[in-house]
């Protein structure tokens, strides 16, 4: 029922520092704010080690001194508590005009979860949602975290799916403010699984969930050279 929507795919091959990708999202968001009928965008990246806090997040969930974090710490304009990014974790930032997608932030979160569940299904894994705990869970372990922000229904931030990342960095925080809820990664279910194998699945799942036709950016639309 969704007509196919024009969307630009940005999938840099190298690891992108968080602040750079955040800047890109803001550029993309500003473009859509200026032209709400313009193309939407999907940014698929991996970040070097860092921690991010949602705007209303509590520093109580940090198990380190915020003045001296073990990796760069950013307080950013999304919902949710603290999370951790690192190589081996796929991060997807859809910059969408949500008024084309139901104009409902909760629905949007459910669709993002749905996309990850679709990916797991392709991999033969039965992920699940837990009512009231936004995220995607595999046998009680959280494999994907979500946090979004929107201005005039233009979204930024998104989801992080742990593929084969080192889980030790999560020990320094209570991810999403949840205690006694272990963090998991897909390679513990599918040994040898690599982010580059999961990325095309995630790309396809997001495109299909949101009815996007993904294409490369034109020269004018490039975020980097």
């Amino acid at each position: 029922m969704n007509s196919r929507l024009d969307a630009i795919l940005f999938d840099p091959t190298s690891i992108v520092p968080f602040e750079l990708a955040w800047g890109w999202q803001r550029v993309l968001q500003a473009r859509l704010l200026a032209n709400p009928s313009g193309p939407e965008a999907l940014l698929l990246v991996q970040h070097p080690d860092c921690y991010t806090l949602g705007r209303g997040a509590s520093e109580q969930h940090l198990r380190f001194d915020p003045a001296a974090p073990p990796a760069p710490l950013f307080r950013i304009d999304r919902g949710g508590e603290v999370t951790h990014h690192l190589p081996g974790q796929l991060v997807a930032y859809p910059v969408l005009n949500l008024s084309r997608h139901g104009a409902d932030l909760h629905l949007y979160l459910r669709e993002l979860e749905g996309a990850v569940l679709d990916v797991l299904a392709v991999l033969g894994l039965a992920g699940e949602r837990i009512e009231g705990l936004t995220g995607v869970w595999l046998e009680g372990q959280k494999v994907a975290a979500f946090g979004v922000g929107a201005r005039r229904w233009i979204s930024q931030h998104g989801l992080a799916l742990n593929v084969n990342c080192d889980l030790r960095g999560f020990g320094a925080i209570a991810p999403c403010g949840l205690i006694n809820r272990p963090v998991g990664r897909l390679c513990d279910w599918i040994p040898g699984l690599l982010p580059e194998q999961v990325q095309p699945l995630l790309q396809r799942a997001l495109a299909s969930r949101f009815g996007l036709t993904l294409r490369s950016p034109t020269l004018a639309e490039q975020l980097w050279r």
Binding site: R55, G56, D77, G79, A103, D104, H106, L109, V148, G149
Partner: protein, 446 residues
């Protein structure tokens, strides 16, 4: 979403805000939303501090147009938080005092009252609200009110606002312009085809007999303008476009309404509205025709557990809502009428919960109050059928026995999804509906 937590006020009271600038951030679950100012001005007061949760539709802060108005707004507004919280010893006094002093000294206020006193509709509701409007001789009006005022040539200064804190609303402008306020902000047509009362405004105006000039039709923009679709309008676009994937057919019926009209006259005095009466009639018949209450789904024909009659309501700002009278077949007429009044009131202020407008199993669309003799309705997604109800008008009718008489008749037209509902189902439903309305409307009160 029914409530949101205020994460952060990005502006402090007294700060200037530009149109489109973010004023605060609201969080719900793991999603943040920037809330922007729709108008340029100054943040005068924060009524709900960061960290607290507010239900959707709650007033959480005040924005005024000029720096000079900040003090007035602060003085008159926060009777809810500041005054109430700060002065627990003398509880009942808090509500009224901030109102009076602000309204009295303003010289503008007297002229306002005088000029507005003439139209009968202007009730003294606004007494406490126009404090901010007139205290400094400045105006607070919604963008739509301003636009309408320009279109209709109404001087905003002469108006008394009925909105929050004296804000001038679109209706205030319409009322002042002598527009038939018969076109309410939410035009749902509480009188289906109005045997006598409400339709008079429409007919009268059309015949040119009305004292007011020919009324202007509603438009969302001015000539020469292209206006971006708002969220509600985009939702309408999606829903309408979705209907193109549904193979629909139409089947119509002419129903005599003399007995129905007479019954309506009796129960009207008890607060029964035409919308409730029609919804009840449709629901009772739907309960006997479950096929017409069914809908297409991936899994197969879906038969809802209850009969929920949605009624299409056109919003002033271009949206189309379908508030739902749930279990209309099993709910008595008087409760239905009360529910409907409540739903309409809350749809004006956009305080309906999703379940209250998205759970309809069958939709009713009524344009009878405009005098139309027939129309087609477009099927809302997720349902199997919608009934278009036109005006009831006196007609010359030939009886089976060759007699000729004058009867009031209305046409109804069913739009149905042929994947689920077939011609015979629709026809049988309409036949029973006609029989109920023509021969036994009194049973609806039981």
């Amino acid at each position: 979403m029914t409530e949101g937590k205020i994460v952060e006020w990005l502006k402090k009271p007294g700060d200037p805000v530009a149109r489109g600038e973010s004023v605060l951030v609201v969080e719900s679950d793991k999603a943040d939303m920037d809330v922007e100012a729709f108008q340029e001005g100054f943040l005068a007061a924060v009524l709900m501090p960061a960290g607290e949760s507010a239900p959707v539709g709650e007033t959480i802060g005040l924005i005024v147009e000029t720096e000079a108005e900040i003090a007035a707004a602060q003085a008159s507004a926060p009777s809810s938080s500041a005054a109430a919280v700060a002065a627990p010893p003398k509880p009942p006094a808090a509500a009224t005092p901030p109102v009076k002093p602000a309204a009295e000294p303003a010289p503008a206020a007297t002229t306002v009252e005088a000029s507005v006193a003439a139209p009968p509709a202007a009730a003294p509701v606004a007494a406490m609200s126009n404090a901010t409007t007139t205290a400094n001789g400045r105006l607070v009006a919604t963008p739509r009110a301003k636009k309408l005022a320009k279109q209709l040539g109404v001087a905003l200064e002469t108006l008394r606002g009925s909105g929050p804190h004296g804000r001038i609303q679109a209706e205030d402008v319409e009322r002042a312009s002598g527009q038939p306020v018969s076109v309410p902000r939410v035009s749902e047509g509480s009188s289906a085809y109005a045997p006598a009362g409400a339709a008079v405004t429409v007919n009268g105006a059309a015949a040119g007999a009305s004292p007011s000039a020919t009324p202007l039709g509603q438009a969302f923009g001015s000539p020469g303008e292209t206006v971006a679709f708002n969220t509600l309008q985009q939702a309408v676009i999606r829903n309408m476009a979705a209907s193109l994937t549904v193979p629909c057919f139409h089947v119509g019926y002419t129903i005599s309404t003399d007995r129905f009209d007479a019954f309506y006259k009796q129960v009207k005095a008890k607060g029964v509205t035409m919308t409730a009466l029609l919804a009840k009639a449709v629901a009772v018949v739907l309960a006997r025709h479950p096929q017409v209450n069914a809908a297409h789904s991936e899994a197969g024909m879906a038969y809802p557990a209850s009969v929920n009659v949605a009624v299409a309501v056109a919003m002033d700002d271009g949206g189309l809502l379908t508030p739902v009278l749930a279990n209309a077949d099993k709910t008595d007429l008087y409760s239905l009428s009360r529910s409907w009044a409540d739903l309409v009131a809350r749809s004006r202020t956009k305080q309906l919960k999703p379940a209250e407008y998205s759970t309809g199993t069958f939709t009713l669309s009524n344009l009878g109050m405009y005098g139309v003799d027939r129309f087609d309705a477009i099927l809302p997604p997720g349902t199997g059928a919608i009934l278009a109800v036109a005006a009831s008008r006196p007609c010359v009718v030939a009886g089976d026995d060759g007699s000729i008489s004058v009867k009031r008749q209305m046409q109804v037209n069913l739009t149905a999804d042929h994947r689920v509902i077939y011609g015979t189902h629709g026809a049988a439903f309409l036949k029973d509906l006609a029989a109920l309305i023509e021969t036994n409307p009194e049973s609806l009160a039981l």
